[in-house]
């Protein structure tokens, strides 16, 4: 089987707001979700900013019975999955539950809960470890909880590959729909901010300001000095094109190609050339049967890191030429921070760009490091027929997807 894959619904819990209306408004207005961290103290750390989810009421989306057993990451995921199914107009029932699945991405899972358990183990002893928390320390807990709350029983996997977890999950989900093992798959990603994890990233010098200057996320900017950490969840409802057509759904877009690649790299660093990333871009375009000049817009992976943003920009220069005539480039991580499994939220933003013909600005970008056509300052109105979602991770892992308007 080689079926087409379309996006028929979206759901999100983000630093820019919960739900499609709020997220979309913030996106077009170029709002930022980055502020001083409020949920824990950053005293003694080198960084103090973060993009926290602030207005999330899980009870609006999740039954009280199941919510009691859930951690925050699972609640964000379950809420996003419910929103995506509702948005797609899909009701899970006996007739379809075995053909609906989830492929979730999370880079680190619930880091807060794992640290709590470790603290108890090493201060109070193994007898005090609470069995209630054990299931939620497992990386596939969000996918498991979402399947229990929503009642679907098909394909269920979780991808955990650092900053490309969600892009890879969406590619895997699309692969499953193509091979016919499911008709609908909820796919995307989620990660959360936690005090220990934030501290670890600070001590690793992985966050802005890594080398002095003012703290802030400035993707592709000349004075960028590292990413700001964020949190949140974004889910796209992928559906077999024929099924969407039969039930008269109006898809946001089609996912017509994906490319996965890697390159030798220091374990927590970056390769010294963009070849691996270029391979992923080329593979995605080849599968989609698209030529580089057809691409109207790129949701870039740029997070304000010195090395990765330079590498990513170099690959675009090689693929699209260095001039201002190429696709519009925007990087959501300027507004949401680096969420690690950020590809779900960024896929949601790209689906909205295609539907609305609008490309959001790269928040935090003032002085681009190259003359590429970055969207700066205000959202740009432009029809988006074909677009790229780029995923890049330290350690040299790449996952890119081609999104196209239409699809049924």
């Amino acid at each position: 089987m080689n079926r087409r894959v379309v996006v028929t619904g979206i759901g999100m819990v983000t630093p820019l707001g919960v739900g499609k209306e709020r997220f979309q408004n913030a996106l077009w207005r170029g709002e930022t979700g980055i502020r001083e961290i409020a949920s824990f103290s950053t005293e003694g750390f080198g960084s103090h900013l973060g993009a926290e989810v602030r207005d999330f009421q899980p009870r609006n989306f999740v039954s009280v019975k199941n919510l009691r057993k859930m951690d925050r990451l699972s609640a964000m995921t379950t809420a996003s999955v419910r929103m995506a199914l509702d948005d797609a107009g899909i009701a899970v029932c006996d007739a379809n539950r075995d053909r609906i699945g989830i492929v979730m991405g999370t880079a680190f899972g619930n880091t807060e809960l794992k640290v709590q358990s470790a603290r108890i183990l090493f201060t109070e002893g193994p007898g005090m470890v609470n069995p209630i928390h054990v299931p939620n320390t497992v990386m596939n807990a969000p996918a498991g909880h979402a399947s229990i709350e929503l009642g679907f029983r098909g394909v269920n996997t979780t991808v955990n590959h650092q900053s490309v977890s969600a892009e890879t999950a969406i590619a895997c989900a699309a692969m499953e729909i193509r091979r016919g093992t499911a008709d609908v798959i909820l796919a995307g990603g989620a990660d959360i901010l936690s005090p220990f994890f934030y501290e670890a990233l600070c001590r690793f010098h992985a966050l802005s300001p890594t080398d002095g200057g003012a703290e802030g996320a400035r993707p592709f900017d000349l004075v960028r000095n590292g990413p700001v950490m964020g949190e949140g969840c974004g889910i796209v409802c992928l559906e077999a094109g024929e099924r969407a057509r039969e039930r008269g759904a109006a898809p946001y877009c089609e996912i017509s190609g994906w490319g996965l690649a890697s390159s030798p790299s220091p374990p927590t660093g970056w390769p010294d050339n963009p070849r691996g990333f270029q391979l992923a871009l080329e593979r995605a375009l080849r599968m989609a049967g698209a030529a580089a000049p057809e691409i109207d817009c790129i949701e870039a992976a740029g997070n304000g890191g010195r090395e990765p943003d330079a590498m990513e920009a170099a690959a675009y220069e090689r693929l699209f030429g260095g001039g201002p005539a190429g696709p519009l480039i925007t990087a959501l991580k300027g507004a949401t921070g680096e969420i690690f499994a950020s590809g779900g939220i960024r896929a949601v933003a790209l689906a909205l760009s295609i539907r609305e013909g609008m490309v959001p600005p790269t928040v935090g970008l003032l002085h681009p490091l190259t003359p590429l056509p970055f969207v700066i300052g205000e959202a740009r109105r432009r029809p988006v027929k074909k677009a790229l979602l780029s995923g890049i991770s330290y350690g040299g892992t790449y996952a890119c997807l081609v999104f196209e308007k239409g699809g049924v």
Binding site: P126, T157, L260, S262
Partner: protein, 419 residues
């Protein structure tokens, strides 16, 4: 019957393992045939304060002796090292050591993750608790992420194909084999290193003890007196290739990956669904994917954790899928020998399944001591059998209600016989 053409058919051309019984597949095959037990007191960390003290620990493995000096072991966790050793064995067997330049761009890695570098992170964390964040050496956390294994393999082997780490808890390794096959089928890669790796560590040991899921002595799968699992550690790695690619290279073909199915229970996070619907659907999905009927299967490598609910559920599921034939198919849980290696188990048991085919034996379930009236299948409790299976079905079930089934078959040009 065969599925698709030579590009669509995916074969196993190499395997490697490090586990409590063995440090390579040759030793492993011997141990499985003898019915050795790899379970004993854990020496890796102090278990004095834990409820139980036994595990299936890797004790006779010297990394520097197993891995050539050209590969640095710096900043690698115990589970990363297991995987590298197993991957090198698998590549050697496949005739891919070194990997030809022209294959590297289109060869990738998919690893079913588990605790990753948690064992090392625990050492760090104790230091962090004692000395505080200002003084603790955070750089020791570098390999903590379970993606570390695939990153190291790609970097050390110079690969540029797809790379991913996935977790479906105790079925991660099996899912990795299935996804690896699909990546090749979909044209995303010509060859994949696919498998799983898992270390014993205090956090995991504490978690399963807190759930009271651990048998204090040793696990007794399908036995009437079974009382829980035994945690183990291992890596199991396969080299997967398209049949066309393997033929072109003249590679040894060990077996074919015939089918893969993954479902979820949507029932409970840790308890299996006693109705067994998820497991039944996973096995059926894998059979459908393989284009085979239940009559084609002649050995089932069970998940068989030896927790009371799992073994009962799995037995029920096998009966539902295979009908009256269920009693005629040998079913064994090799976890009785190598322990439950969690994220690695599906991949380790993929190695077992392929060894059953290539070495011509059905491995036993050891420690099945008393009868459970509801677990009444043929669990191969009296030692290995010298029977060469054509088609092996391997089950892996997991927390989160995840179920993965993979089917392997003896390689035949015309595809598997279909009676």
């Amino acid at each position: 019957m065969a599925v698709g053409n030579d590009e669509q058919r995916v074969v196993v051309t190499g395997m490697g393992t490090v586990n409590a019984l063995a440090a390579d597949t040759g030793q492993f095959s011997g141990a499985l045939r003898r019915g050795d037990c790899g379970i004993g007191p854990i020496s890796l960390f102090d278990t004095a304060t834990f409820r139980t003290h036994n595990g299936a620990e890797v004790k006779h493995f010297l990394p520097r002796a197993a891995i050539p000096a050209e590969f640095s072991l710096k900043r690698m966790s115990r589970s990363d090292v297991f995987a590298l050793a197993a991957a090198l064995q698998a590549l050697s067997q496949a005739g891919l050591h070194p990997i030809p330049e022209d294959l590297r761009d289109e060869m990738g890695v998919v690893i079913g993750g588990g605790a990753g570098g948690l064992l090392e992170a625990e050492d760090f964390f104790q230091d962090y608790l004692r000395r505080g964040g200002q003084k603790a050496r955070f750089s020791r956390l570098a390999p903590v992420c379970c993606a570390s294994t695939a990153n190291h393999l790609v970097t050390k082997l110079g690969l540029m194909g797809p790379k991913m780490t996935l977790m479906t808890a105790c079925s991660s390794g099996a899912t990795a084999v299935g996804v690896g096959r699909d990546l090749i089928r979909s044209g995303a890669a010509r060859a994949m290193i696919a498998g799983g790796t898992e270390p014993l560590c205090r956090m995991t040991f504490a978690s399963f003890n807190a759930l009271k899921a651990v048998d204090p002595e040793y696990c007794r799968p399908f036995s009437g007196n079974r009382a829980g699992l035994t945690l183990g550690e291992a890596a199991g790695i396969l080299v997967l290739e398209s049949l066309a690619g393997a033929r072109e290279r003249g590679a040894p073909i060990l077996a074919e990956v015939l089918g893969y199915g993954v479902t979820c229970d949507s029932h409970h996070m840790t308890a299996p669904d006693v109705g067994a619907s998820g497991a039944v659907r996973a096995m059926r999905a894998a059979l459908t994917d393989a284009g085979l009927g239940p009559e084609a299967v002649d050995y089932i490598n069970a998940h068989g954790t030896a927790t009371p609910p799992n073994d009962l559920m799995e037995t029920r599921a096998i009966k539902e899928v295979f009908g009256p034939r269920a009693w005629g198919i040998p079913v064994s849980s090799t976890k009785s020998m190598h322990g439950h290696t969690l994220g690695a188990s599906g991949a380790l048991e993929a190695v077992v399944s392929v060894l059953a085919i290539t070495e011509g034996f059905i491995p036993p379930t050891i420690h099945c001591e008393t009868r459970d009236p509801e677990c009444d299948l043929d669990y191969v409790t009296t030692g290995a059998r010298s029977v060469a299976p054509e088609v092996v079905l391997s089950n892996s079930f997991a927390f989160g209600g995840n179920n993965t089934t993979v089917i392997f078959g003896r390689f035949r040009e015309e595809g598997v016989r279909h009676e």
